[in-house]
């Protein structure tokens, strides 16, 4: 058994992404019509030209009819997928495999979520599975809050220093988001404001937590050999890795909440598929799942962007800043966009689409696009029990 991957077999030839935010006047149909229309136009095709559709949504629709009805698709196969917060990436992963298999010449992956209609703070699980009431009712913020003191204890980072590190991650993402017209929050936020914001859970304050938002993003995928029929600057799928954890972290006393084994494993698989041996020097930029600032800190180490125990120093040194050695979340991340669950993964691919093709606006353009590879990452679930996706795309074959 091994993960062979589909390196250079499938290309992204068109993408679309709505502005993320509080779309009180738009429903899920409106948002996915907007993102798919952008994507189709960007590839120069019509909805009927696409052979098959995948839609990722966690709570805004059931079945493929979530897309076929609003888009009025005629006799098209549409598959709805859900995989926690990696739902949007999962739509692209499955669409890419369908094209690589030869079953279809083209496919469209769209992610959409209407989160703001719930009326609650934060994400609300869609599941109404009957339970025995012994399941945890904690928020994600509280679970991720445990990672910060665990990391600090293990690596000798004091509370004040950790506070600064986490704030620096939040500061960076808001700095980037302030330069992105599609982001929900477009203001830079000072370190003092971040450190003085109200407590949400554990040591996490408001600016340590991603917001919620409505939004949608979409991608058109075709066989790599056909890519230049649609665009002269396609992105090639280099790796698509996914790990669904066995939830052992919350059962195994040896797990210490300072790393995410599911992310480490997904990263390892993705690097093998793409032939990446030194991510720090080979990856031009990364979009990672910054649902909470401690998550982004641990992800740096899980994905090999920094040595174990050293990511906090790299954060303070600016390594992951827009102008840093390896820019992470140059679009502003979940911190600036909020997190419409089904859309976030595809929103991340949208940033790679802009950056690797040189279309990102100058004020947030990365310096190392010539490295040619970009990484996207999602996690879904909690420390100790999560799913993780890692994707790598590149602007050249080989």
């Amino acid at each position: 058994m091994s993960s062979h991957g589909i390196k250079d077999q499938v290309a992204i030839v068109g993408m679309g992404c709505t502005k993320f935010g509080e779309h009180w006047s738009k429903n899920a149909d409106d948002l996915l019509i907007e993102s798919t229309t952008q994507a189709l136009n960007s590839a120069g095709v019509t909805k009927q030209d696409i052979d098959a559709y995948w839609v990722g949504t966690a709570m805004s629709g059931m079945s493929g009819m979530t897309v076929s009805r609003p888009l009025q698709l005629h006799n098209k196969p549409v598959t709805r997928v859900e995989n926690f917060c990696a739902t949007g990436s999962e739509a692209l992963r499955n669409a890419a495999y369908a094209v690589a298999s030869g079953a279809y010449d083209s496919a469209l992956a769209v992610g959409v979520e209407k989160v703001k209609d719930s009326g609650y703070q934060g994400l609300v699980g869609a599941g109404k599975t009957p339970t025995d009431g012994t399941n945890r009712t904690l928020t994600a913020a509280a679970m991720f809050a445990m990672c910060a003191p665990a990391y600090g204890n293990r690596y000798g980072v004091g509370d004040d220093q950790m506070r600064e590190v986490l704030a620096r991650i939040s500061w960076k993402n808001h700095y980037n988001g302030a330069r992105n017209e599609r982001a929900q929050f477009r203001k830079e936020v000072s370190m003092d404001t971040i450190c003085g914001a109200p407590l949400m859970a554990g040591g996490l304050r408001v600016f340590d937590c991603s917001g919620v938002a409505d939004g949608s993003a979409a991608a058109v995928l075709v066989r790599a050999e056909d890519a230049h029929q649609y665009t002269d600057r396609p992105l090639y799928v280099k790796a698509l890795a996914f790990v669904a954890g066995n939830a052992s972290g919350n059962a195994d006393p040896d797990y210490d909440y300072t790393y995410f084994p599911e992310i480490e494993a997904a990263g390892r698989d993705a690097y093998a598929q793409a032939g990446v041996t030194d991510p720090r020097s080979q990856i031009a930029m990364a979009e990672v799942h910054d649902c909470f600032t401690p998550a982004e800190l641990l992800i740096y180490e899980d994905l090999g962007f920094a040595e174990r125990g050293s990511a906090w120093k790299e954060v303070l040194a600016g390594t992951f800043d827009l102008a840093g050695d390896l820019p992470v979340n140059p679009d502003g991340g979940l911190k600036s966009f909020g997190h419409p669950v089904g859309a976030s993964g595809l929103r991340m691919f949208f940033e790679t689409w802009l950056q690797l093709r040189g279309d990102a606006p100058e004020e947030r353009r990365i310096a190392h696009a010539d490295r040619g590879l970009a990484l996207t990452h999602n996690l879904g679930g909690y420390p100790g029990e999560m799913v993780s996706f890692v994707g790598i795309v590149g602007n050249e074959l080989g």
Binding site: S118, G119, Y120, Q121, G122, V124, K128, P130, T131, D132, G133, T134, R136, T137, L138, T139, A141, A142, M143, A145, M146, P149, A150, N153, L199, M200, A201, G202, N246, S248, N250, A251, D252, P253, Y255, D256, Y257, G384
Partner: protein
């Protein structure tokens, strides 16, 4: 002959200083404190806690054949509440569990019935005492539970045996509460006094006669009941020296209704010496007097957690919190969804975990699974597990967090990753905790609680709580 094989009281963690009632309303309240059930406790869950302590201190061969549960504030009507206690104690299916509910008198009546035998019986009593703000019941009442294991000498050595008893009954209207009401009403108290004192004297004399004792031969007298004035009058007429009167815990715990006679009896046995005579006098719609004689076994008996220690380990609760916990005041909840009702069908499949806190242990790798699993997380063995009862296994906090946004009947939620001694981990909510003083590495024990109620269905499960002061839960032991 039936005797008491073990006994325990359960005093919840929180205390309301009665002076805070007076400060708030310029009325009511008084001196001392009353015990307050946690927002996540009810009579069933407190009954479980008392019963666990009683069984822990019981002779190893003693197994109750009947579980009798008495309360004036049952969590359910129609549905038996004793069955949840039965499940939490992991008693065998063929043990009878039934409620003796409604009236204050039912607690001592159930104990009397058990003492008449012949089956080994676990009497569990619990009460949550409510009253309108500034009322005498609000201040004088207390929440708590007690459990007494009764059996014969074939079940184990008795701590005390019944030497005599007396009972009187009369129908009169002194105190009443119609179903659905959250407070009792009382008649003008002189009337009740004139009824209770002669009823008490008659039962007292009958009990002394049946025990072949004179009043001055009784070593300790416990007098209790809801009618404070009648108790004072009767006590003065019993012919016993003041030095022999037991503390009725009114200054620290309050009157715990149906549970109070058993709670005071447990407290007395915890301090008793061999060969003593203890009389328990309770006024409730008549009078009940039980006279016990302690045996040599009481000298070596080790209570699981003495009532006096539990009283000493309490922590204060503000009057505002008290009023919200009792449902008198509703505060703004977090903007998060309230939980759905639990599924009877799912719960029917998971009773051993949900109520008994039984996990599973892989026979090959010893990997422990909470909740129980079929496939091992270590070694991947399938269906090769044995049950792992974890309710009495202490644990250590590996990490913790405070959730200010999740739904809780009393936010914020304090939550911890708990690693159990000997293996096993579960992320679980903490209770009876001072979050500011919490540290990684703190020792915790499991406690049975009511997590929430939805559609009238109570969701019982376990939480972890720091060991009370004086019960440190040494690694590898169950304190």
């Amino acid at each position: 002959m039936q005797g008491i094989l073990s006994a325990a009281g359960y005093v919840p963690y929180r205390r309301l200083d009665r002076g805070t009632i007076t400060e708030t309303f310029a009325a009511g309240g008084g001196r001392g404190t009353r015990a307050v059930a946690g927002y996540d406790e009810d009579t069933t869950s407190m009954g479980v806690e008392a019963a666990r302590l009683a069984l822990r201190a019981a002779p190893s061969g003693a197994h109750p054949r009947t579980l009798a549960f008495s309360t004036t504030t049952p969590a359910y009507l129609d549905k038996t509440n004793a069955t949840a206690i039965h499940a939490a104690l992991r008693l065998d299916t063929d043990v009878l569990a039934a409620d003796f509910g409604g009236a204050i008198r039912s607690g001592l009546a159930a104990l009397t019935a058990a003492l008449h035998g012949p089956d080994p019986t676990l009497l569990v009593t619990a009460d949550v005492r409510d009253g309108l703000p500034t009322s005498a019941d609000e201040a004088a009442g207390g929440d708590g539970a007690a459990a007494i294991l009764v059996g014969s000498d074939t079940d184990g050595p008795a701590l005390a045996t019944l030497a005599g008893e007396g009972h009187t009954t009369e129908e009169f209207i002194d105190r009443w509460r119609t179903p659905g009401d959250n407070r009792s009403k009382v008649w003008e108290e002189r009337f009740g006094e004139t009824k209770y004192v002669p009823l008490g004297e008659q039962a007292w004399n009958a009990a002394l006669k049946s025990a072949e004792l004179s009043a001055d031969q009784v070593d300790q007298v416990i007098v209790t009941g809801a009618h404070a004035r009648a108790i004072r009058s009767l006590t003065a007429r019993l012919g016993v020296d003041k030095s022999k009167l037991a503390d009725d815990l009114s200054g620290s715990v309050g009157f715990t209704g149906a549970a109070h006679p058993a709670l005071l009896l447990a407290a007395a046995l915890e301090q008793a010496s061999p060969g003593q005579t203890i009389a328990l006098v309770a006024l409730a719609d008549g009078a009940d007097v039980l006279v016990f004689r302690t045996t040599d076994a009481v000298g070596t008996w080790k209570p699981a957690r003495a009532v006096a220690d539990q009283i000493a380990a309490g922590a204060p609760l503000s009057y505002g919190k008290f009023l919200t916990w009792r449902g008198v005041v509703t505060v703004e909840p977090p903007r998060r969804p309230e939980p759905d009702r639990i599924s009877a069908a799912v719960t029917g499949r998971t009773e051993h975990f949900k109520y008994g806190f039984v996990g599973s242990k892989d026979r090959t790798s010893d990997a422990l699974h909470l909740p129980p699993a079929r496939v091992s997380r270590v070694g991947d063995a399938v269906d090769d597990m044995e049950p792992a009862p974890m309710a009495d296994v202490p644990g250590t906090i590996a990490a913790f967090t405070i959730d200010r946004i999740a739904y809780s009947p009393s936010p914020p939620i304090v939550f911890a990753i708990v690693d159990f001694d000997g293996g096993g981990r579960l992320p679980i909510e903490l209770t009876d905790v001072n979050a500011d003083a919490l540290q990684v590495g703190d020792r915790v024990e499991m406690t049975f609680r009511r997590l929430f109620t939805a559609d009238g269905i109570h969701n019982y499960f376990w939480k972890a709580r720091p060991f009370p002061a004086g019960a440190q839960g040494k690694e590898g032991s169950s304190a």
